[in-house]
């Protein structure tokens, strides 16, 4: 079945809200999509006839199985485009959302297949969110602490627990960001500092404290 851009935005909106609350209510979705409750009700009727949602008047709604799959495939497009914008075009990760909102509605599935391949089928987007696979399955990403990563092994940065500006400044200095590939060269027993290699940069040394705030996953 085919969906309009507006329908796709509603599906995505429901997906994000139901993750938090199970059943979604009209006002919440209206707020999420910057629209009015009456518009939401109109669209709910349409999505119900298209058999994408479970919906009882006055009693909330949520995506059904096929609705969820559609949502995940839209999110897949969104996150692949974000990855492209950041790691190929050089955008900052905080500037790409609005552009990806537009790109995600380009319909060609062949395009997304080739884009995914071109990017090396990444598992995580520049914000640290997992990228659903071609079947709409979210990858299970075992995040481990960088400090626990064995010497000589390589992993990808997926999140950072401390989001303070001081921490972000450090990370920027070391050239570490979500998606960076990190290899541990050695750990110094004296103070727990680690010598690591970030992507294709020269090796550097980070403190135990910094390492413990960085989470990575094996590819």
């Amino acid at each position: 079945m085919n969906f309009s851009i507006s329908e796709e935005n509603y599906i995505k909106g429901i997906y994000h809200l139901q993750a938090e609350t199970g059943l979604v209510n009209t006002n919440a979705l209206a707020k999420e999509l910057n629209t009015k409750a009456a518009s939401v009700t109109d669209m709910l009727k349409k999505l119900k006839t298209k058999k994408i949602i479970q919906y009882e008047k006055y009693h909330g709604f949520k995506l059904n199985e096929s609705g969820n799959k559609i949502a995940l495939l839209i999110i897949r497009k969104h996150r692949l485009w974000e990855y492209f914008l950041v790691f190929k075009l050089g955008f900052n990760w905080d500037k790409v959302h609005a552009i990806a909102e537009e790109l995600e509605h380009v319909s060609s599935t062949e395009l997304i297949k080739k884009l995914d391949n071109y990017l090396g089928t990444p598992k995580i987007d520049p914000h640290g969110d997992p990228i659903p696979d071609i079947n709409g399955k979210l990858p299970v990403i075992k995040q481990i602490n960088l400090y626990g990563l064995p010497v000589k092994s390589t992993a990808t940065v997926s999140s950072v627990s401390n989001q303070s500006s001081q921490m972000l400044e450090m990370l920027h200095h070391y050239g570490i960001g979500i998606g960076s590939k990190i290899t541990v060269n050695r750990v110094f027993d004296f103070d727990g500092s680690m010598e690591i290699k970030v992507s294709k940069q020269a090796s550097c040394i980070i403190s135990e404290q910094v390492a413990k705030n960085i989470f990575v996953y094996h590819d």
Copy 2:
């Protein structure tokens, strides 16, 4: 000023038709855009109030100066995306038009700036059509015959005069396509055949006849 996707498509349609005939007529544009004459008339009124076209009822229409610039900037987006699809994602050049039709309506100008830079500001798209610059100026491309290209100089393939399947088969064998970079190593006086290097492939030899059907431009 902002334009809807539909308005952009009309502007582009007028641009392409006026190149051939000067003034465009309603039926021709309706055919070009797969729509009805009445719909065209409606849109013409709107484009006239937006001061994009010159239009006298019953007497044809064409883009004015600002209309032309808008058209060229849309065409710029279209051709940059086509270039991306072919040379980065690996699409065949004959499969990319429909996808670029969608991508060209993504609105971010920063996106196009960065895409252009990422692609190396190409001057010509995979179909051999020139790519307007950031100001909507079409590059003037001096096409010269590959056979006349001096030894040791490099140029980019822009078009092929013989489009027969036999010719295309040859070009495919040599890995030559629109956009390929060709360096002339030497020319054999005996039969006029040329030793050339195509992009990053190993050198090969093509006949004078083949060379004379290939047109290139200096970057």
